[in-house]
């Protein structure tokens, strides 16, 4: 009984540990969005985003930028990617497949954001007649939403 339990535990450990370390396999950019909500005092001021007139405040728009995604790959055993099929192959081969199945040959991929963005800086300008122009830089990417309130000073 003890021998059988130990064997099963050993097989489980072996099957679970058959993987190589993660390796960097390049990166790519995916679009990311940030919602910008802008308001001003006085309301009804003209809002320009990167020198393009968008409308009068208060208004809401979506900024788009490129988010870098890092890709990593590692080799894993077929038990990791296709456990059902591995079990089936082990059974129909009467166990002959088991030692070969431990060889990490299949590819597993993981993607995660690197935290880097590009094309993600936007100049925001708010203007109203009789008031000084108000300027700021809005960063797209890290946060899903940015709320701005501009208080314009009289000339």
């Amino acid at each position: 009984m003890l021998v059988r339990s130990a064997s099963i535990a050993m097989i489980v450990v072996l099957l679970a540990s058959c993987a190589t370390t993660w390796q960097e396999s390049g990166s790519f950019y995916r679009s990311a969005q940030t919602t910008l909500a802008a308001d001003s005092t006085p309301p009804g001021a003209r809002l320009f985003l990167s020198n393009r007139y968008l409308g009068d405040t208060p208004l809401s728009t979506t900024l788009e930028c490129d988010q870098e995604m890092r890709q990593k790959t590692r080799k894993v055993s077929y038990w990791d990617t296709q456990p059902g099929l591995s079990l089936f192959l082990s059974l129909i081969s009467l166990g002959l497949y088991v030692p070969f199945s431990l060889i990490p040959v299949d590819v597993e991929t993981s993607q995660e954001p690197s935290g880097a963005f590009k094309n993600n800086e936007f100049t925001l300008r708010i203007e109203a007649d009789g008031y000084k122009s108000w300027k700021t830089t809005v960063i797209c990417g890290p946060q899903p939403a940015v709320n701005l309130r501009a208080v314009l000073k009289k000339l």
């Binding site: 396999s25 390049g26 679009s31 788009e64 077929y78 296709q82 192959l89 060889i103 590819v107 993607q111």
Partner: protein
């Protein structure tokens, strides 16, 4: 009874040997509250190779961008989703191939998982150049015999099928 079970085993084995097996995953997400107009159709936009590699099969460079573009166009036509001209509403599907391994049928016949054919695509759906949805799909052919020769090419038809079926679910006729 014995004969029946014998036939069953042979059928299962033949099925496994002749057919390609692998992992499939795909999902599409519409951003915010975007709902595509019923009857919207899709134009196949730019397809880029973001793998950082120039894939080769038998020492010949494979144009994977063109393979995916053609496969998507064919599947979209089959689903009556292919945009060719107004008046139907146009969405543009911009795709990136982020992972591609041509694989090797002989290797995966020897040992399942070895020599897997892998393709992974990230798609963006745009309406009037505004991002409105994303599609992600990954396909592998990691087990099989002679029938999987040429999977480096046919895998594009399979992944296009996955992408288009996701889009079909999101866009009402």
């Amino acid at each position: 009874m014995k004969r029946f079970s014998g036939i069953l085993w042979v059928t299962v084995l033949l099925g496994l040997v002749l057919s390609g097996c692998g992992a499939v995953s795909h999902e599409a997400t519409l951003l915010g509250n975007y709902v595509p107009e019923p009857g919207s159709q899709i134009e196949v936009g730019n397809v880029t190779n973001a793998t950082g590699q120039v894939p080769k099969v038998d020492d010949e460079v494979v144009n994977i961008e063109q393979l995916l573009m053609d496969a998507l166009a064919k599947k979209l036509r089959g689903e009556d989703l292919f945009w060719s001209a107004p008046p139907s509403r146009k969405l543009v599907l911009v795709s990136k191939i982020v992972e591609y391994e041509p694989g090797d049928a002989f290797k995966r016949w020897l040992l399942p998982g070895w020599g897997s054919t892998v393709v992974s695509v990230e798609g963006e759906l745009r309406d009037a150049n505004q991002l409105v949805g994303t599609v992600r799909a990954r396909r592998t052919v990691s087990f099989g015999g002679a029938y999987t020769i040429g999977a480096w090419r046919t895998v594009f038809a399979s992944i296009a099928d996955d992408i288009v079926s996701e889009l079909r679910d999101k866009i009402r006729k």
